[in-house]
Symmetry: C2
Subunit: 206 residues, 2 copies
């Protein structure tokens, strides 16, 4: 299966399917249908079937999808059947919230290191992490082999820190700073900007 | 212009264009091109032109887009040329971070009320907000006419709180709880789930 053959828009939906299936599993359901899954995630049954068919035959006509099996397959496709260490940069409110966030558990991620450039924060404890000095970030990440970062620094320093992360070998950045980052081809950035999420919806409001 | 004629995928990109244009404006640029804007947001110039052409003629062949003009138009289209009051529910780490978040300023939103169900939090101050009791939420929101909510409660209570919000007249929910919400047609939900953002990217990593 060539990566380039599957549109990113489909990849973007797989984590949403996975979350919905995990929720069904938590409710002790064994099987689901493309209709039911579609209703949960707000897509048509046809879209669900089309998306999943990109990766193989996961359901049976008449009996639908085995939830546990489909979860395993999606975790495998998304490579979250392993645990990725993640570096967290910026120990403001959002950084604190992410350091304590319980929602990474069983979803493929673990915060491994936290950084800040504020001397009053460096060396302090946040949860079970000791805040490390930004000056050490390139060396620390290079030595660890970590590829994934969450960026919670102010907009004004986000690009500068991003450049350090790229230097250090980071390949995927979840960006909370309200700014578009410039990165070379092959580096992945996702934005978690609450204003963007809200602005997508106000278009539809009166 | 009929709403139904414009695909949601295009609407979803407009806030990203707006953020990039605001950033350019902050750098005292006057004009941009579909090439330049595309490079910033990671899309082709053709895609930018196609998306914007849905809403009218915003650029001139040869001279490109006037940044201030395009910002005004996008703010108008997305209805963020006004300020939307937003209700914030759940005063855990993420709720605190959002109550203090500076990134809503000038982007069309203002946190107007905050709620929690924990008696030890109700009545306390978070920033300049007094935390209100969840028991009062339906009455308080109905009386205010607020249509937009940010949901930062645990996954286990997210659907229950959502039902209250719908009762109260909320039409758009930015959901931080790691769970898919069931809402009727016409109600808008956007998810800010860091695991989803990360899982979208690990697919591409080795």
């Amino acid at each position: 299966m060539k990566k380039t053959e599957i549109p990113d828009i489909i990849i973007s939906r797989l984590p949403v399917y996975l979350r919905a299936l995990r929720h069904m599993e938590g409710q002790h359901k064994q099987t689901t249908s493309s209709q039911e899954l579609g209703a949960v995630v707000g897509l048509s049954a046809a879209q669900i079937r089309k998306d999943l068919s990109q990766f193989g035959e996961f359901g049976k006509q008449g009996t639908g999808y085995n939830i546990a099996f489909l979860i395993d397959k999606l975790r495998e496709i998304l490579k979250v059947d392993q645990v990725w260490d993640v570096v967290l940069i910026g120990m403001g409110d959002m950084g604190h919230a992410l350091a304590r966030y319980q929602g990474f558990k069983d979803r493929g991620f673990r915060v491994a290191m936290v950084f800040d450039n504020d001397p009053s924060k460096v060396g302090t404890q946040v949860e079970h992490f000791t805040v490390q000095d930004m000056k050490e970030i390139v060396t620390a990440i290079r030595g660890s082999g970590i590829k994934v970062a969450m960026l919670c620094v102010p907009a004004a320093s986000a690009q500068e820190v991003t450049n350090l992360l790229l230097d250090a070998g980071i390949q995927a950045i979840l960006n909370y700073a309200p700014i578009s980052l410039s990165v070379p081809t092959g580096i992945h950035v996702q934005y978690l900007d609450p204003s963007i999420g809200l602005q997508r919806m106000t278009y539809y409001l009166d």
